[in-house]
Symmetry: C2
Subunit: 448 residues, 2 copies
């Protein structure tokens, strides 16, 4: 007998579990199943670097809600359940050692993203890790325990967070980045601050260096690059992620130029009754107005929320995102939102940028730090296009205000006149954002 569900959700990450929960909340009578390939649902891969750093005693701390919570909500959750074949109204799932067929009226593809691995030899050696699932995290934590020297391939968010956390537990850390700078979502002039912070904290940084091979016996012993060879005891591969679209392809769902699933604002794919949400799907970039790809948990959650509402028969729309992200690298907070200068140029804007370095508190109030704000605006329209902020504190406040304004199509004038909070423990009377906007107004030809 083939089991039948009103909605099948593939993937138990943020998007999938939010979608499933929303359907059950809106239409408790609907039968909803979630199939998750790993052993956990509703978990935070973003927490994995901190698990390595010893912040979470147990991997369970990275789970927002357990399977039991969702089952109590009436959702049939299957873990270690891999959907191996899917067609309209049908799914074949490998679960508990056997394959089972299911029928569905609606399908939500919340398949997420998978590590994008470089085309090099040696990735299968012992001591080589990626970080995506909680199982990955457990394996990696055990695996680096006895390592003295660890290589991280890739200088993006995850790579640098892993580097910091490995330093925290006493490892020697070498980071290899193929590009001339870490964090390609920052402009080079801002990335330099991050590089300085890494170096200051003892991370060995190799920029513009291409890893060509991981070598060793059974276990990795060496990173071979286009410039040299490095003895290491373990390797993290953090060279980015790619949308997981195998099932989408099976269904004939149209992919976008980003490689992720093309969706409407209602999270509908090109195939009837099939929705996509989370890291597997595209979303509108509210700055460019074009489809883009934002593999970030908060965006995934909201896509899931909207997909769930629509799958339950309501009507909801996901407006899009601007690409806001933040991280902390040692003592440096690093935030970004919107377009980089380079990206803005590629998108056909006429970007103007300013960078202002100031402080987070008046000088008489203790505990302040330096902060740098880079703003990018369009010369023709005065519209804000993006910003990057680095400093010892207060970055979240500025990146969030800027992101909120970007989403509303705000201008440099809007930012200058933004009514931001001021008090000595929090900000100087001219907030760093407002100061940057003031300099930008002059740059745009208004008299400052």
């Amino acid at each position: 007998m083939v089991e039948k569900y009103d909605v099948i959700v593939v993937g138990g990450g943020p998007a999938g579990m939010t979608a499933a929960s929303r359907i059950k909340r809106l239409k408790p009578s609907m039968r909803v199943a979630v199939f998750e390939r790993s052993g956990y649902v509703s978990y935070a891969p973003c927490g994995l670097p901190y698990y390595l750093g010893g912040f979470a005693e147990s991997i369970d701390w990275l789970v927002h809600y357990t399977v039991d919570v969702f089952r109590r909500r009436g959702i049939d959750v299957f873990t270690r359940a891999e959907v191996v074949e899917v067609a309209q109204g049908y799914a074949r799932v490998r679960v508990g050692g056997e394959e089972k067929a299911f029928e569905w009226d609606k399908l939500i593809l919340a398949t997420g993203a998978r590590p994008r691995l470089p085309p090099i030899r040696g990735l299968d050696l012992e001591g080589v890790f990626t970080l995506r699932t909680l199982e990955d995290g457990e394996r990696a934590k055990r695996g680096v325990q006895s390592a003295r020297r660890v290589a991280v391939i890739g200088g993006g968010y995850i790579g640098l967070e892993v580097a910091e956390n490995l330093k925290r537990v006493g490892k020697e850390v070498v980071v290899f980045e193929i590009l001339p700078h870490v964090m390609p979502t920052l402009d080079p002039d801002v990335a330099v601050s991050v590089e300085e912070e890494l170096t200051r904290n003892g991370v060995e940084l190799h920029l513009g260096e291409k890893v060509v091979e991981l070598a060793g016996g059974d276990k990795v012993e060496k990173v071979v690059t286009d410039k040299g060879e490095y003895r290491v005891d373990a390797v993290f591969v953090a060279t980015g992620v790619a949308p997981e679209t195998e099932l989408a392809k099976q269904l004939g769902v149209k992919l976008g130029a980003t490689g992720a699933v093309q969706v409407s604002k209602r999270m509908e794919t090109s195939v009837e009754n099939v929705y996509a949400a989370g890291d597997a799907a595209e979303a509108t970039n509210l700055v460019t107005g074009k489809p883009d790809w934002f593999p970030l948990a908060p965006v995934a959650n909201k896509m899931g929320y909207v997909a769930g509402a629509n799958a339950a028969g309501l009507s909801a729309e996901f407006p899009g995102a601007v690409g806001t992200a933040i991280t902390k690298i040692f003592n440096l907070e690093v935030g970004r939102t919107g377009l980089t200068e380079e990206r803005a140029r590629r998108e056909g804007f006429e970007p103007v940028s300013v960078k202002v370095e100031t402080v987070t508190r008046p000088r008489y109030y203790p505990g302040g730090s330096r902060i740098a704000v880079k703003l990018i605006a369009d010369r023709r329209s005065g519209r804000l296009l993006g910003g990057q902020i680095v400093g010892g504190e207060g970055v979240l406040a500025r990146v969030n205000a800027l992101a909120t304004l970007l989403a509303k199509g705000g201008t440099v004038e809007d930012l200058f006149f933004a009514d931001l909070a001021y008090a000595p423990p929090f900000a100087p009377v001219w907030d760093p954002l407002v100061l940057a906007a003031r300099v930008m107004i002059r740059e745009l030809g208004g008299a400052e």
Copy 2:
């Protein structure tokens, strides 16, 4: 001989000095004078409580730029200079022990605000202080040195910041507030958190208690209220401020319903060639669309910036403000923006409010704290009207994002979909603001 200026600025606070600087930057040939009654210009009264608490070793630390800096910019700055009479094109100023007449083409009233004193006896006793000028701060700091027990009359921002700082230097502190709660710019349910924090830190709090007299010989010895008598060694009167409009009245300038000077968006008063800016002037409340009064330094600075541009012959407009403010009371950060629930009702909205209590970081990341977000929205339109946020950290980030959205007429949906930054050191994956918006959507009758 009567000296002639293109622009005379009355008042050397944030608005006045920003206006004067802007004029000289835009039109270096213009002759600009500033007359300031106290001995300092460009100072931060908001820093005075922290001066009491020992954060600034010297009162000079509270001065952003000295008189010399402005003189080098070509501005004729006169301190201890009181404008005693003003008429169209004319001003008589008491400076250096004598009176002098000046002529002007344009006048900028940046006269600020003065303490609003309660109608009680004993305010002139020794040991009774207000905090507005730096001289006030110096007098007060000396005056409380030997005091053991100090009363603070008024539970607004300044009163509570004074209370905290006096505790910091080891005083016993008693706060008297005539209203049932501290901080009338917060709704009562939020003010309660502030009251708990004060009490937890040993501040003796008397709410709904009216001070009727300060008694003593030469020196204040006793606070007499409608409920009792209290032995104290010093008293701070922090019962709010009122716009300083004496000169405006002399000129026949029209005042608004708030008691401050009515101005256009260009900061023009009802009298030709006379501008007003800063705490003396009104500004548009961007939530109500009506004139309002925001006696806060960042708003004052921007009003001065706009008044200066217009006085220099350019054309600039100040759009208005939403009333954003923040403070830190012991370990509690307190932020607010827009309308309170009560005010929203008075303004003819149909306010709906939600209050969400959550955390600032995922539980596995150390250093997080509790945070409460209260949102107020209009039931009919779904428009955000205001918000109040209290917590151990992260309040600036939320109040700034909310303020930015309020200024753009944002809705609850806009807030729910706001692309706020997430990473474990900074926020949970559902940001407190987004969570509050989600609960509000349900409250407004959208299915959550």
